[in-house]
Symmetry: C2
Subunit: 563 residues, 2 copies
């Protein structure tokens, strides 16, 4: 057989990964990579960490250069060359400088930022996307010339990373999200904790604040107007309002796309066009839980599709595994992370018989330095007990818990198995009972009917028909749910008899004591549940705290009751 020509369109992460994998599979192939910018392999996802100063040199994000690809992988890289048209019938790509024939094509042109249609925004010289190394170079050069007020438009992953990074550098950052909260892919509690953490490092976070127009001085944007009633002066603007798959060329060639513009691929990353594969952040992949294709602009996922597309383009056999949509973002001192389906995916969960449990547990033994509250929301299937997804928020170890949960979901673990999974314990790393074990235990207990775990929203909806009991000592001082009665746990047993017959909902700081209270009440024949995640989650969601109602006769003796 004659030498196969494999043509790869696109650099950054997925194109180079596909080319390298193709080489591993077919050392005889002629492999060419076209990239329209001047850099073949760069870490677009790391811009925020050069902005922050943590990665001192922008060159460090420029991963591998053309010579490396030739020396090691014998991949001919041509930078500064953009594909214009794909002729799938003739198996050739047209570029401004000529026609490049192929036997197999790997399409990896990624995604592009969308600049919103706000009058005056487009074309301004101090407005920057946050997607390529030149974007960041332009922004930083502008800040060096004076002025340190940066407005970041968009509170998704990229906007939060950009705001966080620029604030660490010392810029005066305003983060504007037009929706009602930043990071809408997470729970309201997680969004709020992330916003608070950003505010703690002096980022002004404005949610529910759409920018309606901008005022310019010359070619620069100088003022943002928010729905007519507020104005913000800026020296530079970062646009992080969204991405869209860069798939026009493929669409024109006749490939099937999804409604969101992402490329439809099969398990081998093959498109609907013959001998054309696609990978990276322009494709959708099947979700492990729903089985439906999802478009996730995520670098690690892009790398995985690239390996499959590269292998298959070279005649190898590889299959794309399902994705979990695992994602993580640092916001100040807080890390929020998710995997699988969570409460934030209400639409996908509809009809799935899913339930949730929330816990707060320390990331290490409380006596060990660096121990931090870790909030886990577990989503599980009521019938099988299988874990469907999870969200983790913590100042310490959120990355470790989310990765463990991702492996657990892929392996089909149930919440009972999660309660028992044998994780590595030593005080510098985790507590004896890991937050994951705690989450599994709490979920398993609810599933077995031993307790009933109420979300804050459920409690609010049924507030008038239940009696809320705060089982902490001193709940009145630290604030509790309006109308809650304070009955410390050590007095509960003797006072249950005298309580009215309405369903009881117990609350405490984290859910630990109120969980036990629920067990006590239910064993005495009472209908009882507890606030899942405790007042920690309640407060994190921004719900109001009040003084508790009078403690009508309970003991005042203070126990060392840690809830």
């Amino acid at each position: 057989m004659a030498k196969r020509t494999i043509l790869v369109l696109g650099g950054a992460i997925s194109g180079p990964a596909a080319a390298a994998r193709a080489r591993e599979m077919d050392d005889g192939a002629h492999i060419v990579l076209l990239e329209r910018s001047q850099r073949v392999s760069y870490a677009a996802c790391a811009l925020a960490y050069h902005a922050s100063g943590e990665v001192p040199s922008l060159d460090a994000l420029d991963r591998e250069r053309e010579q490396f690809f030739w020396d090691v992988y014998r991949v001919k890289v041509r930078t500064g060359v953009a594909a214009v048209t794909i002729d799938a019938t003739a198996r050739a790509v047209l570029t401004p400088t000529g026609r490049v024939p192929y036997d197999a094509l790997v399409y990896a042109l990624g995604a592009e930022s969308v600049v919103p249609a706000i009058p005056g925004l487009r074309g301004a010289r101090n407005v920057f996307r946050f997607r390529t190394l030149p974007d960041l170079e332009g922004l930083l050069a502008r800040l060096e010339r004076g002025g340190r007020h940066v407005a970041v438009l968009g509170g998704g992953f990229i906007g939060v990373e950009a705001a966080d990074g620029l604030a660490r550098r010392g810029a005066k950052v305003t983060l504007l999200e037009q929706g009602d909260r930043i990071l809408p892919a997470f729970s309201p509690a997680a969004s709020r904790m992330a916003a608070e953490a950003l505010r703690a490092q002096d980022v002004v976070v404005l949610e529910g604040m759409p920018v309606t127009r901008v005022a310019r001085r010359g070619s620069d944007v100088r003022t943002l107007e928010i729905q007519g009633h507020r104005r913000i002066g800026v020296d530079a603007v970062v646009v992080a309002t969204g991405l869209r798959p860069r798939t026009r060329i493929l669409a024109r060639a006749g490939a099937r796309l999804h409604a969101d513009g992402s490329v439809e691929i099969d398990g081998r990353c093959a498109t609907s066009l013959p001998a054309v594969f696609a990978c990276g952040v322009c494709v959708s992949v099947p979700h492990a839980v729903t089985g439906r294709p999802v478009w996730l602009a995520q670098a690690a996922l892009a790398d995985k599709t690239a390996q499959v597309a590269g292998a298959c383009a070279a005649g190898g056999d590889a299959r794309m595994g399902p994705t979990l949509g695992t994602a993580i973002v640092r916001a100040g001192e807080v890390t929020v992370a998710r995997t699988g389906l969570t409460g934030a995916d209400a639409a996908a969960l509809a009809g799935m018989n899913a339930a949730m449990a929330r816990v707060h547990a320390p990331s290490r033994e409380p006596f060990f330095p660096g121990a931090a509250d870790t909030q886990i929301e577990i989503c599980f299937h009521r019938g099988s007990g299988r874990v469907l997804g999870a969200e983790v928020v913590s100042r310490s170890g959120a990355d470790k818990r989310i990765d463990t949960l991702a492996a657990a979901i892929l392996g089909g673990l149930t919440v009972d198995q999660l309660a028992a999974v044998d994780l590595a314990y030593a005080p510098p790393f985790s507590p004896v009972r890991d937050p994951i074990n705690v989450a599994g235990t709490v979920a398993a207990s609810a599933r077995a009917g031993l307790t009933e775990a109420w979300s804050a929203a459920e409690l609010v909806a049924r507030r008038r028909r239940v009696t809320v009991i705060d089982v902490r000592h001193g709940g009145r001082e630290s604030g509790t749910i309006a109308g809650a009665v304070e009955v410390p746990l050590d007095a509960l047993r003797s006072r249950l008899e005298a309580m009215d017959g309405r369903p009881l909902v117990f609350v405490c700081d984290t859910g630990r004591l109120s969980y036990l209270a629920t067990r006590i009440a239910r064993q005495r024949g009472r209908e009882a549940g507890y606030l899942s995640g405790g007042l920690a989650t309640w407060a994190a969601e921004g719900r109001p705290l009040a003084r508790a109602a009078a403690d009508s006769g309970g003991t005042r003796k203070r126990a060392r009751a840690r809830s």
Copy 2:
């Protein structure tokens, strides 16, 4: 039904956990806990971290006090009371102060340190076990009175933790292991990296050094003699040479024990005696991979058995999951961790058709601060591809990788799934391609026959029958395997034809370039493999490095070839 009396023997971690879980299941029960020391609930496993000064107060390790158990759990704690005899027929425990009847008994007396029979050691006033709070109090009081040279006997988990902790405090520590290496539960490479890391913080690590006798002055040990030819002066001695299950009382009552003295239990943590359950570090539990019972003195596992024993003693239904023997230990700046079966479990793996793959990969993107080399050894089943176990060594993130691998093993993931598992990526947390993905890819590739991964031991055994080729630039300068020929990867393709017909084994720093070299050679019909884990693992195992043989005509052009 009359009130059930549940009697729990033993404090520390598992007894209190069992009592609390029993209370959750049966709020009406009469629950009594007997503990022979003065503290009911303490973190024995955290002694090293008070020794180090990281946990400033020893009181912090004293987790919950008697009053807490009464107020919250209505558990009657009696400290200073030791069980003497169990009368399983009459369902009662005899103590020096009387007879305590029970309906269900939870036996949780743990394990005790064994002081070796070295003449002069026992009874000396400056010789301390490292198991209880009083042990540590005694040791620290002794060090405060002057003298800072501590000898730690035993290089297992507890000995390494003790040596590490005491060195952090500023003590002059000598760690003595009579076997040929510390941490024998790990690979030779891991043992060596741990020893080096301890030496870097001025611990004198002496392996293969059995203490044969000690010389005393008065009631203190002053000198240790090592096999007649070396003497070490000491101010205090910590004995960490081993533990044994504290099961004599249970044995005398007629319960079935394993040969190692640990208690035989079923899935409900029931012993062979009626209504007697056992939990904590005195029991053996089934291993998830082999199915055979194993005795592991591990606090997190103890806690898990305690929850099952407590629930079942209270009439609940709970089942003990299989264990993976997950363990982690910090040695200086290095963390070593394991889960499932690894190369160190040769006996358990015999006949299992297991294979290994080793990788070195960065814990974060190399450009991000704190990125550290992460060595993973994956053990997998050749037939099914299932992961059987793993070992991780790194200065960063070993805890996260081992937990993820533990969940993966419990979920039955294959190495192909490990290659594709969707872990959370952002630069502060991990690289785009996580070390776990890399390990999965390398193992899957070997399993699919695309490459052949040789361990250092295999290479040594077949050294005379193969040609070893170092594919790095500059291998000769940095040291390589004796007799290796230097043929940089960029020259390999043109020089393969001229090489002799012996099997080729490629080497580089980590395995990355030599893996590709193997693919190149095999596609040209050569029998070829590569050194798994590269020279990093080779050197970590303490194997010798030599200058490479002359580069007979290869190109000298330097590529930016990072291996």
